[in-house]
Symmetry: C2
DNA sequence: ACCTATAATGAGAATGATTTTCATTATGGA
DNA sequence: TCCATAATGAAAATCATTCTCATTATAGGT
């Protein structure tokens, strides 16, 4: 819910590259930390009640992506959503509602995650390819649409 | 390579809904059948050597999606790529190059696919959610970028 | 083969998300 | 405090995609 911890870590990360952690940028990070899934610039703009102009949100997301603080997520036509990088959020997967399109984070129990990782390794070795990361996205119906 | 009878199946599918399978539409399906991964309207336009105007390709993809012949795939910023639906292509997963962004189909051995499906079921039950489909996308380096 | 109603096409205008520009403001260090 | 530089905000520009509308192609029915 709160983002105290993230704030400190992001602050440290940005200071490394001489990027200022301004109030507008803090607000964007805060909104992402409070979210239960990736958010688009427009969604953030609404959530922040226009305290940060849309063009600044776009620029902030670009800056944060360069600093490896956020990563883009593509699951809908025409919009890019962003979420905090794994070193902040922890590794997880997504539930994508086939009805309303919402994307929700799904924590995965350690043993299952290990299985997924093994599967990915096996699959990778079969096509002579070294997996760096993976994303398991489950499509179905979300709570509100059920 | 060549479209192994996809043409016939698509033809049948479209005739069910009184949608004409014109030469332009055939060319788009042919290009998708020949591809080893999802393709964007622009990529198809280039592959087809401008024999089909870009606006027609977009419209064709929309028509084919409505007819469940193609499905959209989102893995890059700002562009939607399309591939033949699973009932034509068979279920598979994707390898996404973190270097050049190319998306390649990866066939998955039956036993591994079964494991993935089970994992998805278990995960779904843990969050009170009925999985309808899943996508396992592996990020790494493609052959040309290796 | 000839009509006709309807579907499809193509070129360009319109749209919507995102990026860029540029003038102004805020910030950290000397 | 002053300055050099980074950040900001509003608006214009871009790029992928969709829409419009005049024209063309097609499937039936004759
Ligand atoms: Mn997430
Ligand atoms: Mn595919
Ligand atoms: Zn939903
Ligand atoms: Zn590559």
């Amino acid at each position: 819910m709160t983002n105290r911890g993230f704030d400190r870590e992001v602050e440290a990360r940005l200071s490394e590259t001489a990027v200022r952690y301004t109030s507008g940028r803090r607000r964007v990070v805060g909104a992402l930390a409070a979210a239960d899934g990736p958010r688009s610039a427009d969604e953030l703009h609404r959530e922040l009640g226009s305290t940060v102009p849309l063009s600044s949100i776009y620029r902030t997301l670009a800056v944060l992506q360069t600093a490896n603080v956020v990563v883009p997520h593509f699951s809908a036509k025409g919009v890019t959503r962003y979420e905090l990088a794994e070193w902040l959020m922890g590794h997880h997967h997504h539930l994508i509602c086939i009805d309303c399109g919402v994307v929700e984070d799904i924590p995965i129990p350690q043993p299952l995650e290990r299985q997924v990782r093994e599967l990915v390794e096996v699959i990778g070795s079969r096509v002579a390819f070294k997996p760096v990361n993976h994303a398991l996205e489950i499509e179905g119906t979300c709570g509100r649409c059920a």
